[in-house]
Symmetry: C2
Subunit: 224 residues, 2 copies
């Protein structure tokens, strides 16, 4: 039973009130395993082994395995939300903002395939079904501390960009909600396809990304 952590407190019992540091250690170990060896290899027992505690100890800090994974993904999706927030604040034309936002979204998905798969592609756990109802809300109305919040915010921000476009008076072929859903689905399909079939002889990635954005924009907004 090897111990893999090199931090000074690993394997030692935490002092009273220091439990949250153990929580962070668990997330760190889970992330390491998850990125290196994927979802299936990231078991409760292996995480616990890396941290240097027994398996049931993880249940002091997380309700179940899914909660660990959700927390992991939220952490990562937080970066995407950050990037999109920056883009939101720029004074670029709304269409250009959308294009960059779309590109940021796709590149984020491809850079974090495991987390993307887990949040958007893995099966429907009961938890996820419950969570789905929150996705329709505006970014501001989402409690950022609830599990799954970050991905919901990323999605909501992308949706919001389309409302901006309509406010800017650009003529669309569809109602704004439908347009937003269709474009997001296109981007999502690109990410999903490349993640789940990375060995497939696709066209070069950069061309597909630019191409999907072109196709989606041309297909949705009436250009001069």
């Amino acid at each position: 039973m090897e111990r893999h952590l090199s931090t000074s407190t690993a394997g030692t019992r935490k002092k009273r009130g220091e439990g949250h540091t153990r929580r962070d250690e668990i997330l760190l170990a889970a992330k390491k395993l998850f990125l290196r060896e994927g979802y299936e290899a990231t078991t409760i027992r292996r995480i616990a082994d890396v941290v240097g505690v027994s398996a049931p100890a993880l249940y002091l800090y997380f309700k179940d395995k899914e909660a660990i994974m959700l927390a992991l993904c939220d952490e990562t999706f937080g970066n995407l939300v950050e990037n999109m927030s920056k883009l939101e604040k720029t004074k670029l034309p709304p269409l250009e903002r959308l294009r960059r936002c779309g590109e940021a979204y796709v590149r984020f998905g491809l850079d974090n395939p495991q987390e993307y798969w887990l949040t958007f592609l893995s099966g429907n756990t009961p938890k996820k079904v419950k969570e789905a109802k929150e996705l329709s809300r505006t970014p501001e109305s989402i409690d950022p501390n609830e599990p799954g919040a970050a991905s919901a915010m990323a999605f909501a921000k992308l949706m919001g960009m389309f409302r901006d476009i309509e406010k800017a008076g650009m003529p669309l072929y569809f109602p704004v909600d439908t347009a937003a859903e269709l474009v997001w689905m296109g981007l999502h399909g690109l990410v999903a396809a490349l993640i789940n079939n990375p060995e497939f002889p696709w066209t070069k990635r950069d061309i597909l990304i630019a191409g999907m954005i072109d196709m989606a924009v041309r297909g949705v907004v009436r250009l001069p």
Copy 2:
């Protein structure tokens, strides 16, 4: 330990040379469980219980659990291939053929969400990676008896429609391969989104299907 099959031969030992009928019984039971209770509930033991044999008996007919699931999905995807073959033979304008083919593809995915998820959305097993290299071939070059063949053929047929379109001399915004990939990714994204988030307050399905096809066609082929 209840026995659930009502066919006369259920639970009784097969005569020599009749093993293939047991194989069919296993697939039937697996399909029943899979459709009613999803992937996780479809365990080797539960399938065996429905068939009326012991669990290890399934390994006489299938290499592992994944082989059962793949055979199931291939059976279902065969129907899609059939539909698409019919559309291929019609003398409609190539663009209209593509539209109908796209709609058939999406509706198939939504009508068979479990099978679609398992073939296109579930994680990358080693088997799938190996299988991916066959997807680039033409429909005729695929051995229809290999596992995973049906989904590969469905995909290849959709790709082929784009070659027809180019042969018909329609101007595209992209090279034909790229165009085919982009449109398929759009359709795929639509199916994936609706399957994995069925509770989400999306626009009405029919509108999304027609809309995605409109968006994709308008985004890819230069219309008069």
